[in-house]
């Protein structure tokens, strides 16, 4: 890690006197809850890093999912149906279905585990992926 040393020097800004950093307390998802609806228990049986759905994780219905959609109920059916036409992010599904993002995550993770959805997510190391970032810059420049 060759981070700029300046980045680690805490800077004290005027008007804000604080005893400890304002950064949120890091919390593990294992004891997080979403509106008290369901616990975030989506990583069971999978490694934590690879099983976690981010806000931007894109989901697409698999053939199996499309075949099964008639038999699904409630949010499960809605999510698979929305993902049949093309990949949609967790955040977009949350907005379209008016379901809190945490609930979409939980339901989608189940559907993923059942093979009814497939997920697309950048690598954990995307911030080190020079090739991808270069492509991104070229694409944004052309906008």
């Amino acid at each position: 890690m060759t981070l700029d040393p300046d980045a680690t020097v805490p800077l004290v800004r005027p008007f804000i006197a604080r005893e400890r950093p304002l950064a949120p307390v890091t919390s593990d998802h294992s004891h997080g809850t979403d509106n008290g609806v369901r616990a975030y228990a989506i990583t069971g049986g999978r490694s934590h890093a690879s099983g976690h759905l981010e806000f931007e994780t894109m989901l697409r219905a698999t053939g199996t999912g499309s075949d099964a959609v008639q038999a699904l109920k409630f949010e499960r059916a809605e999510i698979v149906r929305r993902c049949e036409a093309g990949a949609l992010s967790v955040a977009e599904l949350s907005a379209a279905l008016r379901i809190p993002i945490g609930v979409v995550r939980v339901v989608a993770a189940d559907l993923l585990g059942e093979g009814l959805l497939e997920a697309f997510q950048a690598s954990e190391h995307v911030a080190d992926d020079v090739l991808l970032i270069t492509r991104l810059i070229a694409g944004v420049r052309a906008l």
Binding site: T2, L3, D4, D6, A7, T8, V9, P10, L11, R13, P14, I16, R18, P21, L22, A23, P24, V25, T26, S27, N35, G36, R46, G51, H52, L53, E54, F55, E56, M58, R60, S89, A91, E92, A95, A96, P100, I101, G102, G113, E118, A119, F120, Q121, A122, S123, V126, A127, D128, D129, V130, L132, I133, R135, L136, I137, A138, G139, V140, L143
Partner: protein
């Protein structure tokens, strides 16, 4: 079973979503900024955020923890046939006790929007990204007119390091927003190159 799309070199394997965060004080133009570049009208989603009794909102009850639902706006840009760029505006509640980690995890970096008349509104965002080592740029939204202060004055008032670009932008203008995003991506690229390449002597 891995959710991560690997290998990522094959476009037929599916989209590659990437994310940047747009932060700043209330009314600074975050949603306008997102809207200026998004392919879709900004969408709103709700997320539960756990807020800890900490920081400037603290009424003396240290350690209290409540869960609040916050709304956040986001947009989407199809960058090429594979890469999809998501821009997430930070939730409207300007409280930094809540859990931002969820939103920021996996983000390439952040744009901190600043209203030069109320620069202190951006302090919590700057503190957050600095403490987390998230690359960011400071973008002064000139609201279509002149800014009240020069970039250097704002840089000094914000006490950001020399490695942080301070740029002027117009959140309503697509070209200005695109250029601001590019200035962030330049920082992201430099960092990626520095970390992946051989270490050079200073």
């Amino acid at each position: 079973m891995s959710v991560r799309s690997e290998p990522r070199n094959h476009s037929e394997s599916g989209p590659i979503p990437v994310k940047i965060v747009v932060a700043g004080g209330f009314g600074v133009g975050k949603t306008t900024f997102v809207a200026a570049i998004s392919d879709i009208s900004p969408l709103t989603t709700e997320a539960a955020m756990t807020s800890y009794g900490e920081g400037v909102d603290n009424r003396g009850e240290v350690g209290t923890k409540t869960t609040t639902t916050v709304a956040m706006d986001f947009g989407r840009v199809a960058v090429d046939d594979t890469i999809v760029l998501y821009l997430f505006g930070t939730p409207g509640q300007e409280r930094f006790g809540f859990m931002w980690n969820d939103l920021v995890r996996g983000a390439l970096g952040a744009v901190v929007l600043v209203d030069s008349r109320r620069i202190e509104d951006s302090f919590p965002a700057l503190d957050y990204f600095e403490s987390r080592g998230v690359p960011f740029v400071v973008a002064i939204n000139r609201f279509g007119g002149q800014t009240a202060h020069t970039l250097d004055e704002v840089r000094e008032a914000l006490s950001v390091g020399d490695h942080v670009p301070v740029v002027s932008t117009d959140a309503r203008g697509r070209a200005a927003v695109r250029d601001t995003v590019l200035s962030l991506l330049d920082v992201v690229l430099l960092r990626a190159v520095a970390r992946s390449g051989p270490r050079l002597p200073d």
